[in-house]
Symmetry: C2
Subunit: 266 residues, 2 copies
């Protein structure tokens, strides 16, 4: 590639701790968002409510204008929702700029069990995006985003269902398009990292086990619905489960093996 695009650093997305774990590169940030089954989306309901709201939503990064854009290129975040939900009403009634929102995704890859509670940690990947959300009104773009999001739940699922959606289905579904303003990611991997005061004590290292317990998401055996007429589980499902189970496990186990800089803790 030779080119790495990065999000601008603003106060709101700049890490002030463990800076070496922070990334502003589009590629890793977009990948963490896209690997997450659920995104947590925050917005402010209105001046009368002091609390920001958080909704769990399904979403995906993509470019309708340049569908072949890869993870390292500027992308929009598409979020799937229901027509009458609060966030959709707010986005609908927001002015030209759109509704300011924050999108977050986090995956735990392992429990890092060290000598002291303070040096305990997770191996993890997390990402946030800030941006302005609009309702997608173009029918072609909406259909494109619905396919993108459905296939993020299970690869190639769209073409293996009854499509296209009918008029009622198109009307009850709303897609939010988030124009991203900035974003950041944080990745912690490697083994345990204790302070010298503890790791140099034989009394302490002699009685406390340290290491990492890898953690990953497992997809189990598909359970057919009672009314199903298709006997065998189709290969787009079985191959996805096999691939994801292998990838998820490999990622959690590989994270443990990353070497940490010598001076680091946590």
């Amino acid at each position: 590639m030779g080119r790495t695009l990065a999000y601008p650093k603003r106060i709101s997305n700049t890490a002030n701790r463990y800076k070496h774990r922070a990334t502003y590169d589009l590629g890793p940030i977009h990948s963490i968002i896209n690997d997450s089954q659920v995104l947590h989306v925050s917005f402010n309901p209105g001046p009368e409510d002091p609390f920001p709201a958080i909704l769990p939503m399904i979403g995906q990064m993509g470019s309708y204008e340049y569908p072949s854009a890869d993870m390292n290129e500027p992308l929009d975040c598409y979020l799937h929702g229901y027509v009458s939900s609060r966030i959709m009403n707010l986005a609908r009634s927001s002015d030209g700029q759109g509704l300011p929102i924050c999108v977050a995704a986090t995956k735990v890859d392992g429990l890092v069990l060290s000598l002291t509670p303070n040096s305990h940690s997770y191996n993890y990947r997390s990402a946030i995006l800030h941006g302005y959300a609009h309702l997608v009104t173009d029918e072609e773009e909406k259909l494109w985003a619905m396919k993108l999001i459905t296939n993020s739940v299970l690869a190639n699922r769209w073409d293996n269902t009854r499509v296209p959606p009918d008029r009622a289905e198109m009307q009850s579904t709303v897609i939010l398009k988030v124009k991203v303003v900035d974003g950041s990611g944080k990745i912690r991997d490697g083994g345990v990292s204790d302070e010298r005061k503890d790791s140099s004590s034989e009394e302490i290292t002699g009685r406390i086990w340290t290491g990492v317990v890898p953690v990953w998401e497992t997809f189990g055996q598909p359970v057919p619905s009672g009314e199903g007429k298709v006997g065998e589980v189709p290969s787009h499902i079985t191959s996805y489960i096999e691939l994801k189970n292998a990838q998820n496990r490999a990622q959690a186990e590989a994270a443990v093996k990353v070497t940490l800089p010598g001076e680091e803790q946590h």
Copy 2:
């Protein structure tokens, strides 16, 4: 028990869709929060920033005043963080009421693969809390909360590490206590649910496989750190892994078998 406490319904926490899946009962909401390895915490950074912020944090529900309180009773949410982080500075400088925040947790239990993209869904459990966050200043309460949170990462881990934390460790760690104002949960379980227009079509049911793929979090083989002197993985770790792996899988598989009300979709 005979008594079920519920959070008050405010506009901000009241579900307006799939109401039968919503719960305001303290027990399930607190359990979803406590079962989550990571909580997503949202707050407003200040009047100059239009975007709410989201931080991934580790936290647990508990009652310092009544440590034996169970999940169905009023509890506070304790969040773990670093002394100089933005949310801690905001909570420190907030007025007497504390910093208004939203805490969210979501677990996916299965992919619900139905006849149409619109009727696709997840089996999931999600919960949100709204409340006011303060820094815990009482040293006894702080230590109690640190133990609570460490043991939520892995049961009984606290007593199997070098404790108590020394002065520097106590000073670098900050615990936020969230006084909960309201909360809500949403649980989706069961099998696929399609609309009659599709499920009555033999052409459609004859070619599209429907069912649920259970999803759960797996803990792998512990990987000892290179410098470890303790040969065998201790039983507080192996028994936790065994228990969690069995529980997580059982929960995802049990969710599939719940019978849905006849009229429901999604």
